[in-house]
């Protein structure tokens, strides 16, 4: 059986790049230039490529002015593939074409698949089992906890955690996986050498070292609002399932989830309180048929993975006072209120809450205390 067939197990329902597109040195050079054309998205490029049959012919056609903008035409004529290659080398990335063995198989099964990818780190073709974990950048402590748990659980189960390396939910999921030496992959909406997120590159650097960084944009391309929806199709396309943890109305996570549904992948959404603006996307997805999860446990069991989450101590180890306080915290509460309703002194309540917080049962959000996602074992059964 030829090697090609192994990486393409089934025919995609959508048009894909022609066989041999980008194969060989000349094709590769043409594809490098094509990847640098900002005005020609894969969607526009694909019909031209199908007519022309090869990257070199496609590029020649664009240079003649049959497609793309005026600027693209100029770029197509003058851009030297060696320069892009050099820039890619400089940031330690490889150029992976449609015809490369390293091109991820799952990505061949989506509409408008990227013709080529820039990759740093582990080979994305090794990513045979992956789950996307996406959500809001500005998230709640609860959401961060859930995403971290999910990343942790997936990492333990040898499932690659795919996300966008943004702060908030994305970062928590990546970190959860990295924390247990799990596999993780980040898809960026900019060139791989661009410092984005602008404030904190440390996560991206760590993923490049210990996981995979991937982008369809050549080095030097700044992030743009048009890149992120496109990036999200790659996130969804790489994975067998997509999990949305928190997202406001019209969030990027909604786009990722919609892509996943379109590609026929599973979608999971973490339940949230209806009055929380960050629960809008997950609840909407659940109404549209996504599977509701309450946390990492639900997700892992639905995916048929072994449950291996860090456990807090069981409630059996709590003393009666701690149990009474825990039972009372049904919404974020001030210690004052707990003191009144339980007839305790404020120092005693504060001390007990501290003990519960240290063991992971509650957390302090702006002076109010709420329970964490890890329900005491006794109520779990």
């Amino acid at each position: 059986m030829p090697a090609e067939a192994a990486v393409r197990p089934a025919a995609s329902p959508w048009p894909v790049w022609p066989d041999g597109f980008g194969a060989g040195e000349e094709e590769r050079r043409a594809l490098l230039v094509l990847s640098a054309l900002r005005g020609v998205t894969p969607r526009k490029l694909l019909p031209i490529a199908l007519r022309c049959g090869s990257a070199a012919a496609t590029l020649a056609r664009i240079a003649r002015g049959d497609a793309g903008s005026e600027r693209d035409r100029a770029v197509a004529r003058t851009m030297r593939p060696e320069d892009i290659d050099a820039a890619a080398d400089a940031c330690g990335s490889r150029f992976v074409t449609w015809s490369s063995r390293e091109y991820p198989a799952q990505l061949r099964q989506i509409h408008d698949p990227p013709a080529a990818l820039y990759v740093i780190g582990r080979e994305p073709a090794d990513v045979t089992s992956a789950v996307a974990v996406v959500g809001a950048r500005r998230c709640t402590a609860l959401g961060r906890e859930a995403a971290h748990d999910i990343g942790h659980g997936l990492g333990r189960a040898n499932v690659t955690v795919v996300s966008g390396a943004a702060r908030g939910i994305d970062a928590a999921a990546h970190e959860g996986a990295l924390g247990v030496d799990g596999s993780t992959l980040a898809v960026l909406g900019s060139g791989l050498d661009v410092a984005y997120p602008f404030d904190d590159r440390s996560l991206v650097r760590r993923i490049a070292r210990e996981g995979t960084l991937l982008s369809e944009y050549p080095p030097g391309v700044p992030p743009s609002r048009y890149h992120f929806p496109a990036r999200n199709r790659i996130v969804a396309g790489l994975c067998r399932a997509t999990v949305v943890v928190e997202g406001a109305e019209r969030s990027g996570s909604m786009i990722t989830a919609e892509h996943a549904m379109e590609f026929g992948r599973d979608v999971f959404a973490m339940a949230g309180a209806p009055n929380s603006s960050l629960a809008h996307t997950p609840l909407q997805l659940i109404r549209e048929g996504a599977t509701l999860i309450r946390g990492a446990d639900d997700l892992l069991s639905d995916l048929g993975l072994e449950l291996d989450l860090p456990r807090t101590e069981s409630q059996a180890e709590l003393d009666p006072v701690e149990r009474r306080i825990l039972a009372e915290v049904i919404e974020p509460l001030l210690p004052d209120r707990l003191a009144v309703s339980l007839g305790m002194t404020v120092p005693a309540v504060v001390g007990t809450l501290m003990r519960l917080e240290l063991r992971g049962f509650v957390r302090n959000v702006g002076g109010r205390f709420e329970t964490t996602l890890r329900p005491p074992v006794a109520t779990r059964a």
Binding site: R137, R138, A141, R167, G168, P197, F198, D199, D200, S277, P332, L334, P335, D336, R337, A339, V346, P347, A348, V350, G351, T352, L353, M354, R355, E357, L358, R363, N364, V365, G366, G367, R368
Partner: protein, 511 residues
């Protein structure tokens, strides 16, 4: 044609006796000042002649030389107006020289011959008493502060004429100031009982007061940080007379004193645009105490802490550590006492609403991190207590009753302080907050359970090395409030609640 009068110049907070000699001799009418007069004293030259003439006295139309001795000390301040004028009057025999013997004179003159309220009179009186002089003659409004010094006669006069009358024996001063100078119990305008809700913050203030700990409050605008900080001054132990005198002296020097002894602990709340000189002390001509010294023995409240100028904040390190501040200027170097409790307040994030129950934070991630960095400086390592002050919902505000009064809490605080004084008598500390880390680790006794708890907090990464020392000291204070010689697990638990990790999850993550 010679006259001699005692005056005092104030350097920092201390008064130094100055002999003011006047000589009236032949020559064109003029007034020359010698003996290192500062710009403020030079300024007096043009003021004195009109004042003397307005008082119905005669200014000699001859060459007048006034020498200020010792010549090595730069003289500053308007307090030398009166001695200079009186020296000239003595030299022209308009007042009897013998009557000036043993008196120190101080006061600024107006052109109409009036005596104007003058800064630093308490320091003048203290210097006079130290030199075992008979008494002081000062402007009437300043007589109250001068009367605080024991064993000193105080004459409060409103005009130059009255002073001359007193020396000639034709005018008798009022004795009123002697009776009202020492007001008894402090009276506070605010009380802790007025705070609704915020039980945890009230408790934290009690702990801060009991151990002398500095406090960082984080909370959204409108949470009540300022209100709480203002009330910390009311639950601190009542000042001793020595402390009250120090505070009064500093305020006198700064020209902020209004009346006699300050018995209430000061509460200073400088705006965040304050210059380093105004915060720490300084000035180009006359070295004035800054806000840190005006808050001596009281509370320095720095609202919007992250907005303060960097150099100003950096300058706080010395006063926080040594309880004094040294101001160096071209005109010299002085030291002001500045042992205060710092209450820093800040929003949880640039927009102010991170973690708020009612409004969502709209800050961009990178700004959050920059902001967290501002709160991670070495200065805040000296802050033992950190707490979140939540903005209460209307419902919460309505349901919470009022708490204990300042007086009740102050009672417990004073008891806890006296326990600390007894315990540290041999070590030379007065409260837990001043204990250096190594000594705290050696001296503070923990129960086995408490030790285990602290150990597990360190293992859970909830506590850094410095955090450990802080928790130890705060735990010691909580145990003092509980009248316990041994720190119990409950004390440690509460102390850990004032640690920074739960306060700034973002900050901890950034590290």
């Amino acid at each position: 044609m010679y006259g001699r009068v005692n005056g005092v110049t104030v350097v920092g907070v201390h008064g130094h006796l100055v002999a003011v000699e006047a000589h009236v001799g032949r020559g064109l009418p003029s007034l020359t000042l010698t003996g290192l007069p500062g710009a403020g004293v030079q300024d007096a030259r043009e003021r004195i002649r009109p004042a003397v003439e307005s008082a119905g006295l005669e200014w000699p139309l001859r060459r007048v030389v006034v020498n200020l001795s010792p010549g090595t000390l730069r003289k500053e301040g308007p307090g030398l107006d009166l001695p200079v004028a009186m020296g000239v009057l003595a030299a022209t025999a308009q007042v009897p020289s013998a009557a000036l013997e043993g008196w120190v004179l101080a006061g600024e003159l107006s052109l109409r011959g009036g005596l104007v309220s003058t800064p630093g009179v308490l320091s003048v009186a203290i210097a006079a008493a130290r030199s075992r002089l008979r008494g002081v003659i000062v402007p009437a409004p300043n007589a109250y502060e001068a009367a605080l010094v024991e064993g000193l006669q105080v004459v409060g006069a409103t005009t130059l004429g009255e002073v001359v009358g007193f020396l000639r024996g034709s005018w008798r001063p009022s004795r009123e100031h002697a009776d009202v100078a020492d007001r008894g119990e402090p009276h506070h305008a605010v009380d802790l009982a007025e705070v609704r809700g915020q039980a945890q913050a009230r408790r934290a203030l009690e702990v801060a007061a009991a151990g002398g700990h500095n406090v960082l409050m984080m909370g959204s605008p409108g949470a009540g940080k300022t209100m709480l900080a203002r009330r910390l001054a009311t639950i601190l132990p009542t000042m001793s007379r020595e402390e009250a005198l120090e505070v009064t002296q500093l305020h006198s020097v700064a020209g902020l004193l209004n009346g006699g002894l300050m018995t209430e602990r000061p509460f200073r709340s400088p705006h965040h645009s304050v210059s380093p000189a105004a915060l720490l002390g300084g000035g180009t001509v006359f070295l004035r105490p800054g806000e840190v010294s005006l808050a001596h023995h009281g509370v320095l409240f720095m609202d919007e802490f992250t907005e303060f100028r960097r150099d100003a904040v950096q300058g706080l390190r010395q006063p926080l550590e040594d309880g004094r501040v040294v101001v160096n200027r071209m005109v010299g170097s002085v030291e002001f006492p500045s042992r205060f409790t710092l209450v820093a307040a800040a929003n949880p994030c640039p927009c102010g609403f991170q973690g708020d129950a009612m409004r969502r934070c709209i800050c961009r991630g990178d700004r959050l991190e920059t902001y967290a960095g501002k709160l991670a400086g070495p200065l805040l390592d000296r802050v033992d207590l950190r707490l979140i002050v939540p903005r209460l919902t209307r419902q919460e505000l309505m349901s919470e009753g009022t708490g204990e009064s300042s007086e009740t809490v102050r009672g417990r605080v004073e008891e806890a302080r006296s326990r600390q004084r007894r315990r540290y008598a041999a070590l030379g500390f007065t409260c837990n907050a001043h204990l250096p880390g190594p000594i705290a680790r050696r001296e503070v006794r923990l129960s086995t359970g408490a030790r285990d708890l602290l150990g597990s907090a360190v293992e859970l990464n909830a506590l850094t090395g410095r955090g450990f020392d802080r928790a130890l000291k705060v735990g010691r204070t909580i145990a003092d409030l509980d009248r316990s010689d041994l720190i119990q697990p409950t004390h440690v638990m509460e102390a850990l609640a004032y640690r920074p990790a739960s306060l700034l999850p973002e900050l901890e993550r950034a590290r």
